[in-house]
C-alpha cells in the first residue's frame, strides 16, 4: 500500500478498501470519535453487512466514504481506496467526488418520508441524476426515469413522474429512493438502514427489490443496519461495529454459527430464534452504549463484557486478530469462544 495521496494497485475484485478511517465531531463537551480506526473491504458484486447498534458509527463511516460529512464533523484520517484512487485526497465538493457520488457510489437513506424534496416532482428528482451523470437529454431521461420507476414496482410509472413525494406512501417513496440509487448503474450502493422506517411486510419486499435492482446493474451492496435478521438472510460477509471500530468480521456463516467477540455473542443471544427450543430466556447485553466523548484507549466494551478481566482494563484495545484461516477476525483478548458458553 502506498502512502496517502498516491494511487494504489488493488487486488482484482476489490472495489473499495477503507484503511483506518477516522471521523470526529467537535462538540462543546469534547471530541466525539464517531469512527475510530475502521478498516474494511468491499469486493465487486458482494453483499456486505455492517452491523451495530445506534451510535456505533456505522452511518457516519459510510457518509465519510462519500465525503458527506459536514461541520462540526470532519474526516480526520485514513484512506478510502476506490478503483485505485484515494477518495479522501479530493475536495468534498470537487468535481472528482461529484462524478463519483450518485454515479459510481450511491446511497439509499433511512427515512423515505424526509429524504425526498417535497417541492420537486419525483420525475425531476430522478432525471436530474440521469442528466448529470449520463448526459441524457430531457426526453431520454424522462423515458429512462419511467423505466426505473416501473422496475421498482410503481405502476403507471409514466404519469407518476409528475407527482410529488407526498402523494406516495412510505414504502413507495423508498422504492423511488432505490430507483434513484441504481439509476446510473453504480458500482456500489450503500443502503443505510433502508427499511427500518417501514413495516415488516414492506421491509421484506423492499429488500428483495433492492437486491435484484443492484444485481441487475452488477453492483455491490453495503447493508448498514442494526437488524441481524436482515443481514443473516442477505449478506455474504459481515462486519460488526462497536464504538467506532470493527470488533468482528467474517463470513455470514462464521459470524452466526461461531461468534467469537463477546459483543457479537451478546447480540446473537438477545434475539429470539425460531429454531430454538421454547423457554430459553432472552439474554440482553447489560449496560448502555458508551459515551463516545474522550474514549479511553482500553476496550470500549469492557463495562458490559461478561468475560472481561483485569487485563482488559489495563491494556489497550487489541488489534483485530484472526480467529480462523478463512478471514474470520475478532478484536478481543478472549476470542477463543469462551463467550459463547
Amino acid at each position: 500500500m502506498s502512502a496517502q495521496g498516491e494511487t494504489c494497485d488493488m487486488p482484482a475484485g476489490d472495489l473499495l478498501r477503507v484503511n483506518d478511517l477516522q471521523t470526529e465531531f467537535r462538540v462543546e463537551e469534547g471530541i466525539v470519535r464517531a469512527v475510530n480506526g475502521m478498516s474494511y473491504t468491499i469486493n465487486e458484486r458482494e453483499i456486505v453487512g455492517i452491523v451495530g447498534e445506534s451510535g456505533c458509527g456505522k452511518s457516519v463511516s459510510q457518509l465519510s466514504v462519500m465525503q458527506l460529512i459536514r461541520r462540526p464533523g470532519r474526516v480526520a484520517g485514513g484512506e478510502v481506496w476506490f478503483q485505485g484512487r484515494n477518495l479522501l485526497q479530493y475536495a468534498p465538493n470537487g468535481s472528482e467526488m461529484r462524478s463519483i457520488r450518485g454515479a459510481k457510489i450511491s446511497m439509499i437513506f433511512q427515512e423515505p418520508m424526509t429524504s425526498l424534496n417535497p417541492v420537486l416532482t419525483i420525475g425531476r428528482q430522478l432525471t436530474e441524476t440521469l442528466e448529470l451523470h449520463l448526459g441524457m437529454h430531457k426526453k431520454e431521461s424522462r423515458k429512462r426515469a419511467a423505466e426505473l420507476l416501473d422496475s421498482v414496482g410503481i405502476s403507471s410509472a409514466e404519469s407518476r413522474l409528475d407527482d410529488y413525494p407526498h402523494q406516495f406512501s412510505g414504502g413507495m417513496r423508498q422504492r423511488v429512493m432505490i430507483a434513484m440509487g441504481v439509476a446510473c448503474q453504480p458500482k456500489m450502493v450503500i443502503a443505510d438502514e433502508p427499511t427500518t422506517a417501514l413495516d415488516c411486510t414492506t421491509q421484506a419486499q423492499l429488500l428483495e427489490l433492492m437486491l435484484s435492482s443492484i444485481d441487475s446493474c452488477k453492483g455491490a451492496l453495503v447493508l448498514v443496519t442494526h437488524n441481524l435478521g436482515v443481514v443473516a438472510r442477505y449478506a455474504q460477509r459481515i462486519y460488526i461495529m462497536y464504538a467506532g471500530r470493527i470488533v468482528e468480521q467474517g463470513s455470514c456463516r462464521e459470524i452466526f454459527y461461531n461468534p467469537r467477540h463477546p459483543y457479537t455473542v451478546g447480540l446473537l443471544k438477545s434475539i429470539p430464534r425460531l429454531d430454538e427450543e421454547k423457554g430459553r430466556r432472552l439474554v440482553p447485553i447489560v449496560g448502555t452504549p458508551p459515551n463516545l466523548i474522550d474514549l479511553p484507549s482500553r476496550c470500549a466494551f469492557y463495562p458490559r463484557c461478561p468475560v472481561r478481566t483485569e487485563r482488559c482494563l489495563t491494556e489497550d484495545w487489541p488489534e483485530l486478530e484472526p480467529v480462523s484461516e478463512s478471514g474470520h477476525m475478532a478484536r478481543c483478548y478472549y476470542s477463543d469462544g469462551r463467550a459463547d458458553a
Binding site: R98, S99, A103, T114, S115, L116, N117, V119, E128, D163
Partner: protein, 318 residues
C-alpha cells in the same frame, strides 16, 4: 385547492367583519359627545345650540341605538359612502382617493425593495455562513429591527437635508415630476423598507440554514449535484415558503411606519391623514381610514396565503 381558496376568502370576510366592529366601537369610546364635536368644529363654540345638536344627531343617526348606528354605518360603507370629514368638509371617499395612492406607491416600492433585497442578503448570509458577509448581514438586520423609524428618518434628514441641503418635505407623484418624485421618495422609502428588509433577511437566513439540514438536501448532495444547483433547485424554493408569509407581515409594518414617516416628511398620505384626524377628533375619517387600511392588509394576507398554498405542492395537490 379551490376549497382552500374559498375557505380563505370566507374567513377573510369574517375577520373583516370583526375589524369593522373593532373600528366602530373603538371610535365610540371617544370621550365626549360626537354631536358636540361635530357642531363645535363646524361652527366654533358659539354655534353650539340645542337645535343644532339635535339636528346633527338626527342627521348622523346618533339618536339611534349603537347597534343601529353600526348597521347604518356598514350599510353606507358598502354603498361606497364613507361619510363626510369633519375637518376637511369633504367626502371621505374622495379624500382617501387623493391620499391613498401616495401611501400605496411608497409602500409598494418599499415592499418590493425589502422583499428582494431581504431574500438576497438572507440567502447570501446563509450560504456564506460564518464569514464576514454573514456577520455583516446579521448585525445590520439586527440594527434595522431595533432602530426607531424616526431615528432613521432623522439620520437621513440630517445627512441629506441639513448637510446636503436637499429638500425632504412633501412628495411628488411620478407622473407629475419624476425627478422630484425620486428625490422626495428615496428617504421615506428607505425608512419604510428597513424594518421589513431586516425581518426578511433574518427569516430567509434561518430558513435556508434549516433547509440545508434537511434530509432531502443530503440526498441531493449524495447524488453528486453541484452546490449551485442544489441551492437554486433544492434549497431556494423550500426556503422561500416561510418568507412569502412575511410579505403579509411586511405590509402591516409598512403601513404602521407610514404613519410616522408621513408625519416627519410631511407627505399627504393616509397615515398622516389618520394622525391629523385623531387630533381633530374627526371620527368619520378615523373610522373610514382605519377600516380601509385593515381591509387592505387582510386582503393582501389572503392573497399571500393563497399563493403560499399554490407554491407548496402539498397544499396545491392536497
Amino acid at each position: 385547492m379551490t376549497t382552500y381558496i374559498i375557505r380563505r376568502l370566507l374567513i377573510g370576510l369574517f375577520v373583516l367583519f370583526i375589524v369593522s366592529l373593532i373600528v366602530f366601537f373603538s371610535v365610540r369610546l371617544l370621550p365626549g359627545d360626537p354631536a358636540l364635536i361635530y357642531v363645535s368644529s363646524q361652527q366654533g363654540g358659539s354655534g353650539v345650540t340645542q337645535e343644532k345638536l339635535d339636528e346633527v344627531r338626527k342627521e348622523q343617526g346618533l339618536d339611534k341605538s349603537v347597534p343601529e348606528q353600526y348597521i347604518r354605518w356598514v350599510g353606507n360603507v358598502l354603498q361606497g359612502d364613507l361619510g363626510k370629514s369633519i375637518q376637511y368638509r369633504q367626502d371621505v371617499g374622495k379624500l382617501l382617493g387623493q391620499r391613498l395612492p401616495v401611501t400605496l406607491i411608497l409602500g409598494f416600492i418599499s415592499l418590493i425593495i425589502s422583499t428582494v433585497l431581504g431574500t438576497f442578503f438572507g440567502l447570501l448570509a446563509a450560504i456564506k455562513r460564518g464569514s464576514w458577509i454573514d456577520t455583516l448581514v446579521t448585525v445590520l438586520s439586527y440594527v434595522g429591527l431595533v432602530i426607531p423609524v424616526f431615528m432613521l428618518a432623522f439620520i437621513l434628514i440630517y445627512i441629506f437635508g441639513v448637510k446636503l441641503h436637499m429638500r425632504f418635505d412633501g412628495w411628488a407623484a411620478p407622473w407629475e415630476n419624476f425627478g422630484d418624485f425620486v428625490k422626495l421618495s428615496f428617504m421615506p422609502v428607505i425608512c419604510l423598507a428597513t424594518v421589513p428588509l431586516a425581518i426578511t433577511a433574518r427569516q430567509m437566513r434561518s430558513s435556508v440554514l434549516e433547509v440545508n439540514n434537511m434530509d432531502y438536501v443530503r440526498t441531493a448532495w449524495s447524488k453528486g449535484l453541484r452546490e449551485r444547483v442544489i441551492v437554486t433547485r433544492h434549497v431556494l424554493k423550500n426556503s422561500l415558503i416561510p418568507v412569502i408569509t412575511l410579505i403579509g407581515i411586511g405590509i402591516g409594518i409598512i403601513f404602521g411606519g407610514a404613519v410616522i414617516e408621513e408625519t416627519i416628511f410631511s407627505i399627504a398620505g393616509v397615515g398622516r391623514l389618520i394622525v391629523t384626524s385623531v387630533f381633530a377628533r374627526d371620527y368619520v375619517v378615523i373610522q373610514a381610514g382605519t377600516l380601509i387600511i385593515a381591509a387592505m392588509i387582510i386582503f393582501i394576507n389572503i392573497i399571500v396565503d393563497i399563493s403560499y398554498g399554490w407554491l407548496d405542492p402539498r397544499i396545491r395537490y392536497g
